[in-house]
Amino acid sequence: KREVFFETFNAINRNFMEIFAQLSDGTGELVLENPENPFEGGMHIHVKPHGKPIQRLESMSGGEKSLVAISLIFAIQRFKPAPFYVFDEIDMFLDGVNVDRVARLIKDNSKDAQFIVVSLRKPMIEKADSIIGVTMSNNTTIVTGVKLN
């Protein structure tokens, strides 16, 4: 049980480090509170933004926390790949530059899997292969178009 845990933890940690480095200017890693007995402690996320000292997740800015959470989600998905992914507004706290980075990562990965992403952000929308427009009319949802970019 402990072995299985570490196999999973180390694989996801490797993915997390790679993905976070891609999405931000810094480095990050998952850290167990109790490496000897993992089940007796929690899991922390230590992040070292470019040039800054190491910080805990809790003290970071809204956008930085969001990038960390997205990187963890993507790291888990890379460990357990699926044929399609569905994301509903994961880019909310991010500024334009960071939305662009997440969008590029999704774009690159979309050769191997299908990505369906709800977003209101221009840097995300402009990288899509196709766009489904949704509006409410007479109290009912109508899908206004499926454009191929």
Partner: protein, 166 residues
């Protein structure tokens, strides 16, 4: 395996039948607040049994039945059409259709599942789709607000994510 089409009938804010083609690669769904974007995601999650009704923002499953514009029908239905030409899902057909319908009754509701028009169960669907890498735990679905939830987790809850995956 990939999704070819999502057909939504009388589900949440969809009062008529709507067929949404899904192309390969990277698709973005966009539009104003309250227009129905998350409801499309809910339809996919509902049809594949990936989540409880709480995650679909419904107090009970019958709240998923469209209730706009007067007379309310007694059922809601979602069909997802998959391209199975790589036969990752162990069936003969090149196309797999998963349909889920809930029908409101006197006492509550019935929930029906169909795979290519044959009645089936949710666990049968999850079993077959596991060969294509799609599991009922829904790690491939990130709902609106999940990112915040992960940020606000305690270290213990965060470690339990790893427990659950291993």
């Amino acid at each position: 395996m990939k999704i070819k089409e999502v057909e939504i009938k009388n589900f949440k804010s969809f009062s008529r039948r709507v067929k949404i083609p899904i192309l390969e690669g990277f698709t973005v769904i966009s539009g104003p607040n309250g227009s129905g974007k998350s409801n499309i995601i809910d339809a996919i999650v509902f049809a594949l049994g990936l989540s409880s009704s709480r995650a679909l923002r419904a107090e009970k499953l019958t709240d998923l039945i469209n209730s706009s514009n007067g007379a309310r029908r007694d059922y809601a239905e979602v069909t997802i059409v998959f391209d199975n030409s790589d036969h990752k899902i162990p069936v003969e057909e090149n196309e797999v259709r998963v349909t889920r319908r809930i029908r409101e009754t006197e006492g509550g509701y019935y929930s029906y599942y169909y795979l290519n028009s044959s009645p089936t169960t949710l666990s049968d669907i999850h079993h077959r789709f596991s060969f294509a890498g799609l599991y009922g735990d829904g790690y491939n679905v990130v709902m609106q607000g999940d990112v915040t939830r992960i940020i606000e987790m305690t270290p213990l809850e965060r470690r339990r994510i790893i427990d659950d995956i291993s």
